[in-house]
């Protein structure tokens, strides 16, 4: 691959295109050719850079991280000469110096764009005044004084906002359904039952900026005509429960919840309901059953919650993140939001990045960014610079995608086509030392345990899959297992009652599709290439490097290592429990896993 010393990223969001971004790219290219720099400087297209007020077209130059804006075609020759030939920053075209300093400070998140997380980590979540100082509750004020409920719905609809819980249903449409439904009592519910292992975005929003969720819910309730709301949080999130409760109390004492909010004739109140942490209670019908005090089990739809929800009244459920975005859409306008993102997925999405990636943590990026950009540019690449193997998106019901999918733009449709889901935005990155069969078994163990047991395909099907996968990992797999697995995946997906069962086969199906060779090696050769599945590996001491220091023998918990001092030791495979202590402790790297 050619080595470029500089990369120019030209923003091609609709506003910049309108202002001539493509012409700018052509002009840059021509000028670089003219000045003989085309082999050193690469011109790339990117999504929106910077803040929505910028004039455009915008471009960023890396590695310096200089942001040029408001460029005309006449400026290009001068800019190329100054910046790339002479190496001086053409200050007259840059954004203010302070903004560049801010960017450097948050260097790991250079590609990030924070809308939901705007205040998280910036304000004191327990102080409503800090939220109000940052335009908090101004959107509510705008809605209550200037907009009708119908206009509010229209605004959210035009913004293209889709449910951030994973299914991606247009939020405005959902609100219209409940508004049009008949009934005197309507409910607005916030799904904060973030159950995916490795997902923590909703928790961070609740802990860091609880008022954005409260404000979003009041606006939604006004649009939908709801008078009571519930935030359903899992009891495993004690800090989130506490911050939400404090936020609700503060909002109530400020008169932002209760009767006649801001002097209008609209009244709404909120309460927190705690869940006991069952994964299935993130499913909307199970969630409502749980709020009602019943067993948390899903029921068939229709009737949909908008017609018959909580206590048989029209109800609407949105995710924490969806509500937290709403005030920003009202404040900045539907078009502002619609211009961020990619095709049918507008705006930004938070992702909880975990696994074998350098910068684990919470990020927020515009839709359309590629998986590669997320993992390598935002996440800093794979730990210990190992090789990337797969990334699992969307929690335990998502698929594992191999390297060929790294170019994929992150949006609802692209991920679904690739056999995975966006889900709640969990991203688990796996390196070359991961056994994909073991990973599939791990996720199946989770869904099998969390299956509520109401419908047969999910209750029994997931158990059968788990049994087969466990067998394969133990080296007892049969060649026909692969066919059986595929059949089970298909049937569970088609026949299950709720999203849990429908999504449960995804990790198995995607690993079968993309890592079939690993299954075959496990079944036919009884080998685990990643050396993870314990029954398929054995520890041996290599003759040469072993000095007979006896360290391993002294530390073996089951006394499986024998040998004389200063002589090569031997591991008895019948006693060895494959705990790996000897390998970690050996100073001469004499232990080999086979």
């Amino acid at each position: 691959m050619a080595y470029f010393r500089s990369h120019v990223l030209v923003s091609i969001d609709p506003i910049c295109i309108d202002k001539g971004a493509y012409e700018l790219i052509d002009a840059l290219h021509d000028e670089l050719v003219k000045q003989g720099l085309i082999d050193e400087v690469q011109v790339l297209e990117t999504s929106r850079i910077g803040d929505p007020e910028s004039e455009g077209p915008d471009l960023m130059v890396y590695p310096e991280g200089v942001h040029y804006t408001n460029l005309s075609l006449e400026d290009v020759p001068f800019l190329v000469e100054e910046h790339f030939l002479k190496g001086r920053i053409a200050a007259q075209y840059t954004r203010e110096a302070k903004e560049i300093a801010d960017k450097e400070l948050s260097a790991p998140q250079a590609k990030e764009m924070r809308i939901v997380l705007k205040n998280v980590g910036e304000i004191d979540p327990l102080n409503i005044e800090e939220y109000i100082a940052r335009d908090g509750y101004m959107a509510l004020g705008k809605v209550l004084t200037e907009m009708t409920p119908e206009e509010t719905i229209q605004e959210v609809l035009e913004s293209g906002l889709r449910g951030r819980g994973g299914a991606g249903f247009p939020t405005g449409l959902k609100w219209r359904f409940i508004r049009d439904a008949e009934g005197d009592q309507k409910y607005m519910i916030c799904n904060a039952d973030e159950g995916d292992p490795g997902a923590f975005a909703n928790r961070s929003v609740q802990e860091g900026d609880p008022h954005s969720v409260v404000e979003g819910m009041i606006i939604a309730a006004y649009a939908a005509g709801a008078s009571q709301g519930y935030i359903y949080v899992r009891a495993e999130y004690p800090i989130a429960v506490r911050t939400m409760r404090i936020a609700i109390d503060q909002a109530r004492s400020f008169g932002l919840l209760g009767d006649n909010i801001l002097g209008s004739d609209f009244s709404f109140d909120l309460d927190v309901r705690m869940g006991a942490g069952a994964f299935v209670c993130g499913e909307e019908t199970a969630l409502m059953a749980s709020i009602e005090g019943k067993r948390g089990e899903p029921r068939p739809r229709p009737p949909f919650p908008a017609q018959k929800g909580l206590w048989h009244n029209p109800s609407n459920i949105n995710n924490v993140e969806t509500f937290a975005i709403v005030p920003q859409i009202i404040l900045n306008g539907a078009m502002w939001f619609a211009n961020i993102g990619h095709e049918k997925s507008t705006g930004t999405k938070t992702f909880s990045m975990a696994g074998d990636v350098k910068n684990t943590g919470l990020i927020e990026v515009p839709f359309g960014i590629t998986l590669r950009e997320i993992i390598y540019d935002v996440g800093g690449g794979i730990k210990e610079d190992k090789k990337f193997k797969a990334v699992q998106t969307g929690g335990p019901m998502g698929g594992c995608l191999p390297e060929e999918f790294l170019h994929l733009p992150m949006d609802y449709e692209a991920l679904e086509q690739a056999g995975s889901i966006l889900g709640s935005g969990g991203l688990v990155v796996m390196d070359e030392d991961t056994c994909m069969v073991d990973i599939a078994r791990f996720f199946m163990e989770f869904t099998q345990e969390e299956s509520c047991g109401k419908c047969t395909p999910c209750r029994i099907g997931t158990r059968r899959i788990l049994e087969i996968l466990t067998r394969i990992c133990e080296g007892k797999g049969k060649p026909e297992d692969i066919v059986t697995l595929r059949l089970l995946c298909e049937q569970i997906n088609e026949n299950s009652l709720c999203g849990l069962g429908k999504g449960a086969p995804n990790p198995v199906k995607s690993t079968l599709d993309h890592f079939l060779d690993e299954y075959e090696v496990h079944i036919l050769e009884k080998r685990c290439p990643a050396k993870i599945c314990k029954p398929l590996i054995r520890f041996e001491i290599i003759d040469g490097p072993c000095t007979g220091c006896t360290l391993c023998a002294r530390n073996c918990p089951v006394d499986a290592i024998f040998g004389e001092r200063r002589q090569t030791h031997v591991i008895d495979p019948d006693i060895c429990i494959k705990c790996g202590i000897c390998e970690q402790i050996c100073p001469y790297d004499a232990i080999e896993i086979k």
Binding site: D102, P108, E122, D124, A133
Partner: protein
């Protein structure tokens, strides 16, 4: 605390809150901000916060505001402590244990020397 009865009331409260923030910023007080989300606490932010408060008390320091915030997103660097000396940009320190917290208070907050080896950088 007064109830907000109209949009104008809300705007008034916003102005007051902004004014309070400006006074805080121009007062010359230094802000020490500790990330106290679940991740921060799990990584030991409570001990770090305790060490900060103890150091401030022991050294008899005044004009320092210690406050908490949520998770800024850099989980692998928790516990995170941010120091904002008025008028200057925030400096973020990562993986701050109680001993480091002591040093940050003594060297950065008191003497104004940024401890670059603790700083989170790209």
């Amino acid at each position: 605390m007064s109830t907000i009865k109209s949009l104008d009331d809300l705007k008034k409260i916003r102005e007051e809150a902004l004014k309070k923030q400006q006074i805080k910023e121009s007062s010359g007080k230094t802000e020490v901000i500790v990330g106290m989300g679940t991740v921060g606490i799990a990584a030991g932010a409570r001990e770090t916060l305790k060490a900060i408060l103890e150091t401030i008390e022991k050294e008899n320091l005044s004009d320092i505001i210690v406050r908490q915030t949520g998770n800024i997103g850099l989980d692998s660097y928790e516990p995170i402590v941010q120091v904002a000396v008025s008028g200057k940009d925030k400096v973020s320190y990562g993986k701050v244990n109680p001993e480091m917290a002591q040093r940050i208070i003594k060297e950065h907050v008191v003497e104004g020397e940024i401890i670059s080896e603790y700083q989170i950088k790209g």
